[in-house]
């Protein structure tokens, strides 16, 4: 397995990125802020209206360093993609399968199985660790409900129905998310998912976590030669990395939601880290975003044993491992796509 390299986050809006040899130079008003050798980097995430020279963008595209631009609040703006590399045959196979409803459904249902399994595991884990603080009966009920949906999903061969089942599972899981917040409950609560803009503290953090995860997944898919924009579960829509969203489904709960819950429950963030705007939108302060990103990077470095590959890798490589497995399935080296089933 490849080594997980670092991510550079630029949180100041007036920084310009340029290339010098194999280094990235960070310029602020003609002044050199720093330089970094690019071979240590896996991706660069720029917040605000940070600019970059074409030569630098070309270099990144060429070396598979993902370069992403987000708004200050973490909403996706643009991604730099170079010439498509990798295997044309693999990509054609992907397009062919995505055109076929039945074959798409057979792959898509495994994403959903992974998602529901991981949600169920989170719920079970909560009842085991905090039996006195959560409503155990309700948790057990949802867990059983998820199990039965999972059985239906396994047998489902219709995309529309699959989306329906996924929605059902999401509703019952979301109903418990609020109870998984154990600390600072007066400022952190989860009623419903709101986005564009997020309307409370938890949603603001979820949005940022999902954006970061989606970018990591999209670049992992492209690194193995797949087209991140052609999905099986998510329909094609210009500008939407549908396959990245597909693969991300199974990681949302276990990776992003759990990360956000940890930040709250360990009191790494508090209510002063959020700004409430007049239109109801909630955004994180610059300081809070830095804390968030530092914690995110540390989480990515944590080692786990991949449940299917039985290989020790860092959390940050999980999207890459799943992208590899998906490519293997599309090449017919694996009968089925094995979702990431975390325990």
């Amino acid at each position: 397995m490849k080594k997980l390299l670092n991510t550079l986050f630029i949180t100041q809006p007036d920084v310009y990125l340029s290339l010098d040899g194999d280094n990235v130079i960070l310029l602020k008003e003609q002044e050199k802020l720093g330089r970094l050798p690019l071979h240590n980097l896996e991706s660069i995430v720029a917040f605000g209206y940070t600019g970059a020279s074409p030569a630098f963008m070309g270099y990144c595209a060429d070396r598979n360093i993902s370069l992403v631009f987000l708004t200050m609040s973490g909403r996706f703006l643009a991604r730099v993609i170079g010439a498509s590399k990798g295997n044309v045959v693999l990509r054609k196979k992907q397009y062919l399968l995505s055109e076929n409803e039945l074959l798409s459904a057979k792959i898509a249902r495994n994403f959903i199985v992974g998602k529901i399994f991981n949600h169920k595991w989170m719920i079970e884990r909560m009842t085991r660790d905090y039996p006195l603080r959560v409503n155990v009966d309700q948790f057990k009920e949802v867990s059983q409900h998820l199990s039965s949906i999972m059985m239906d999903v396994r047998a489902c061969e219709d995309l529309e129905r699959l989306r329906g089942l996924e929605g059902q599972a999401a509703v019952s899981y979301n109903a418990l998310l609020d109870q998984m917040i154990l600390q600072q409950k007066e400022h952190f609560y989860f009623r419903t998912r709101s986005r564009k803009p997020p309307l409370d503290n938890v949603n603001a953090m979820l949005s940022l976590a999902y954006t970061l995860l989606a970018n990591d997944t999209a670049s992992a898919l492209e690194a193995v030669g797949l087209d991140a924009y052609v999905g099986f579960l998510h329909r094609d829509r210009p500008g939407r990395a549908s396959l990245a969203l597909d693969v991300m489904e199974e990681l949302r709960g276990i990776y992003a939601d759990k990360f956000v819950l940890t930040l709250i429950n360990k009191k790494i963030v508090n209510h002063e880290d959020f700004l409430h705007k007049e239109n109801g939108a909630v955004i994180m302060t610059d300081e809070a975003r830095k804390k968030f990103l530092a914690a995110w990077q540390n989480k990515k470095q944590e080692k786990i044993t991949h449940p299917y590959l039985s290989e020790k890798i860092s959390w940050g490589l999980v999207p890459y491992a799943q992208a590899l497995l998906l490519a293997r399935h599309l090449r017919n080296d694996l009968d089925e796509y094995p979702p990431f089933l975390w325990k």
Binding site: N6, G21, D22, G34, L36, P37, N40, K290, L293, Q297
Partner: protein, 96 residues
Amino acid sequence: MLVLITYDVSTVSSAGQRRLRRVSKVCQNYGQRVQNSVFECVVDAAQFATLKLKLIDIIDPDQDSLRFYQLGNNYRNKVEHIGVKESLDLEGPLIL
């Protein structure tokens, strides 16, 4: 792993000055300058081999010298910095 590279390139001739510039340029592509003629590079074994070959190619062994200190993967407790211009931890969270 972290490799510390230090060099002494004789600059009495213009050819020497040219070698010095080329050495520092190559080092800069692989790591960060922590002091004059001292570089810290976080590289893997293959990158280190290429870097070494490139540098050996440039210098004149009769006049210049190169030193490589391999500090391994657990280098953080082996390096202490005092004074100005602290280096960036290339493997820690990079938020600028």
